[in-house]
């Protein structure tokens, strides 16, 4: 369970270009549920997602993860929580070019110091699970959009997170691939993962996977 209490995020404090990205956000996300954030670009979806995903700290307000207060945790500890709790799927896939698909999947686990052999085995298993095992040795720049998306999902799962955070996951996919993605997300939810999806794609909102849609505008919830 993640609970946000009166979250406020301000960029460039005290400068002429001061900008309030989020204001008065109160939100509770139950475990094993899927929540979609929607709203036009600039509405604060992404900022909220990065605060929820422990990537950024709010300027004010409180965040509870389970029953642990994590608001003012320094980056060092926030990263640890992020690594073990959250798996991220990005709009641009954000795979690292020039290194193999397998390595891309393994990278999030590097800082844990897990044994190379066992890590490699888990990564291979995940790739096989998403039918991209044959691409393990190729470079991400040679993958098709759908393959890249599935590699990105495998990477998000490598540290076995309880929450999957997806930012506009269908933005570069056609309808067929988008539906395929929603099917994968559905499986993950059934496995017990919590899903947080920022998207303005109706395929996502109308999907049976999503339990709750939160609409946002101008940094506030509607």
């Amino acid at each position: 369970m993640i609970r946000l209490n009166e979250i406020r995020k301000v960029f460039n404090t005290g400068k002429p270009n001061e900008f309030v990205a989020l204001q008065g956000i109160n939100l509770t996300i139950e475990a094993h549920r899927a929540v979609a954030l929607t709203g036009p670009s600039g509405s604060g979806k992404t900022t909220l997602l990065s605060i929820l995903g422990c990537m950024a700290r709010p300027t004010a307000g409180r965040i509870l993860l389970g029953d642990r207060e994590i608001t003012s945790l320094p980056e060092r500890f926030l990263t640890e929580i992020r690594r073990s709790t959250f798996g991220f799927i990005f709009q641009q896939y954000n795979l690292i070019k020039g290194i193999s698909v397998l390595e891309n999947v393994m990278i999030p686990a590097y800082p844990t110091g897990e044994k190379h052999a066992s890590l490699k085995e888990r990564a291979t298993k995940l790739l096989n699970l998403f039918n991209v095992g044959s691409k393990a040795d190729s470079k991400p720049e040679w993958l098709s959009g759908g393959e890249a998306q599935r590699v990105a999902i495998a990477r998000a799962l490598i540290n076995n997170p309880s929450v999957i955070v997806a930012d506009e996951p269908t933005a570069h996919l056609d309808t067929r691939l988008s539906l395929e993605l929603m099917a994968i997300l559905k499986d993950l939810k059934e496995e017990g993962k919590t899903l947080l999806i920022a998207s303005h794609d109706p395929i996502v909102h109308s999907s049976e996977v999503v339990d709750r849609v939160v609409a946002m505008r101008d940094g506030q919830m509607q």
Binding site: F11, T13, R57, T59, A60, S72, P74, E75, F77
Partner: protein, 332 residues
Amino acid sequence: MIFHGPILGLLLGSLLVSFMLVYSAFYAVQILLRWDMRSGSEIQLGLERRTYLISVLITYALGFQLLSLFLFIYTADHLAPLFVGAMCAAGSLNVNPWGYPTIVLKIVNFILGAVWLVINFTDNRAWDYPLIRKKYALLLCIAPLILAETIFQTAYSAGLHPNIITSCCGTLFTADAAGVTSGIIALPPIPLAVTFYTLMGATLICGVYYRRAGKGVTLFSILSSLTFLASGVALISFIPLYFYELPTHHCPFCLLHKEYLYVGYALYLAFLGGVISGLGVGILKPFSGVESLKGVVPGIQRRLALASLVSNGISLLIVVYGVLSSNLILLD
């Protein structure tokens, strides 16, 4: 001033380390004034990021310090032939009044830097950085010492006037009268040997007791520091005598020579390792009560105590080996 490769290297190194410390000290002040863990403001986030930079700077600075300590001694040793009457580093360090203070500062700064890193390491294990103000206050104390070291070292180098062919009218011979005395004051070896062995033994016993029973932290820490001081004195009173097998040669630096299989490096490192980890154990003691550090401190202390025991054990072994294998027998 001698334009000598190693001296230029040492000066450059010191200059860079000073620069790193002054830079860190500047942000230490900012942290002391404006640190607020509860805040998510951009200032706070910026300061938290700076702490990473400062950790890295101090870590590198410490590494350079250790190297420069040995390079400095070695250079002094190497320059000895340039000075009339200087046989080794002991003599060339005495060429002007800045030599020995530089060495002492180098050692002190190295120890302080290492202690700082121990505190920093511990602090970084706690989510609320409970020691942040204390460690940055300590950093503010170290910075001037580093600056002093740089100034001393520069003064020492600038004051090196080798006794080379100096003039056409024999001024050299008057200079020779006030030449270099070999520098190290001889101290009575036997009482010091007894003190050294006693303290070393007490430290080792106390360390083992602490590892077993978890008690006696303060005593252990004090004992390791005293042992270090005793080792320093022992290094100019009795240890060299056995290694050189000469009852009059007290120089602690010749141990670094090839003739003695570079045993000095191992011995110096072991002494330094012993005092740093021993001091670390004691320094952390007051913080074991801090809520967020409760689970962290004892583990670190135990590891440090082990490191200290190992280091002190190694140095004791080296000394005992030197004494036993020596042909010299000291009779008072």
